[in-house]
Amino acid sequence: MSGVTLSNVVKKYGDVQVIHGIDLEIENGEFCVFVGPSGCGKSTLMRMVAGLEDTTSGAIQIGARDVTRLDPSQRGVAMVFQTYALYPHMTVAENMGFGLKMNGYPKAEIREKVAEAARILKLEPLLERKPKALSGGQRQRVAIGRTIVRGPEVFLFDEPLSNLDAELRVDMRVEIASLHKQIGATMIYVTHDQVEAMTLADKIVVLRAGRIEQVGAPLDLYRDPDNRFVAGFIGSPAMNFLPGQVVHGALSIAALRTVPALDLRLPADGTRVELGIRPEHLQIDADGDGFRLDLIEKLGGISYAYLHAATGERLIVATDGDSDLTDDMDVGITFDPARAYLFDAETGLRLR
């Protein structure tokens, strides 16, 4: 019973408000990812849950306890820092046992708990090493091990993979996912990388400028974004957007000669809109026109075509690896209207 509840949580530094009244419910055992571009407040919000930043107003509950004013050590949380934050003069075992030692646990019990965490993370052969003798991935695992040892109600991860190289990042992502399955504790994870968010989260919280843009399961955000920001942020390569307008009750998109009918109620005439289509839902019509294929990147299993419209807009289209397209062709595009999205260009809100 240790979900996390944020009620109208606000953070100000002097006169500058960086978190604008956030309400959020994280279920017990849930893997919740805060994602957003840098400066969106995701790290600040997590540090407020940890107690490392004061909460200006509002309340934070962990389980049934209001922890808003509690010291970090009394909140039942443990955190993995971006920089690992391992103590360089202590061995791996000492680092992992340090929290328990501070809390006055007997030595035998500390040793036992450290051994258990080391087993889970396959760190046994490294226990007597100093952090500087470890690789980046091993340090990361020790940092995670240190949190496991403390047996917290809530695990906090602050961009834990951002100092690892691409390959290791994928491995550690899988390892963290397995860990969550194994331990089943509530976890909050901060990242700017939407791929990490998509692959790890039960629930994604998309933040921008200190406000929640949308909360939901990964594929719900991918399939059913509430606004242009979420649509553009989730998914890789990013969704393509084509500007247009509602004219005489019909949709007019500058880059497209004809616009297939979308199954939604259009707003008033003159409303400026954007049509959004993901690269994987666009097809290239080699006999069509209106677009120029600048470059095709063939990755083997998949190819990406970089197009620009006669009207200037740029598009990316994902096609299969055996594509026989070549650079500098004139092409058209087609798409299934059921997989297109429409957004109000002013407010960014999705039109449904």
Binding site: L52, A78, M79, A85
Partner: protein
Amino acid sequence: MQRLNVAPLRALLALTVALAIWQAVVWLTGVPRFILPGPGRVAAALWDNAALLAEHARFTVANLLTGLVAGVALGVATALNLALSPGARLMLRPMLIFAQAVPVFALAPVLTLWLGYGAASKIVIVMLVIYFPVTSAFFDGLIRLPPALSDMAQMMRATPVRRLFLLQVPHALPALASGLRLAVVYAPFAVIIGEWVGSSRGLGHLMLLANGRGQTELMFAALFVLAGMSLALFAALERLLRTRLA
């Protein structure tokens, strides 16, 4: 400053080359011995005046080491206290600026005035000269614990005192080491200056005495004993740091 950390063999080589050049200069220029005696004559003076040099050196070394130990102890204690009390930085800063921009050495005459021509004024000048760099270096090391390490400690219920001794002190040891290196470089300066300003014993006194009496060989011999003392002190510290901090 990194360069100092060098194998003794290299230093010995450098010394040999320097001696050779020196001898060559003396031979080639035919400079009179009361201006620049050759290495051989200086060695002879060293040998002939061994007892005299040893007596004066004992006085100098005793003051040097006493002042060094006291200055380091006082500096370490100050830094620890400052690290525990918030707002300490603000207090320390003007002190350090003053101490670094104004030559503390220049207080030597004042100290002889206050403490007389004996050992006390020398010990205090060494302490004073050492105190500021050691305090400053160690305190800097203590408060520069990376923020994440400090946050981590806060999450683990580490009290300020425990945090200081279990985390900040180990983290500040390299900074303390640089402070100590400065200290052992400064300390011989300080003790000799203390003797020059006013003393009836010590190597510095002997140098001025020999200079005044035209005993150039003896002055150079004293200078060599002093240089040897400095090098030995430095080498001893390096050995200590290597075994303790490695």
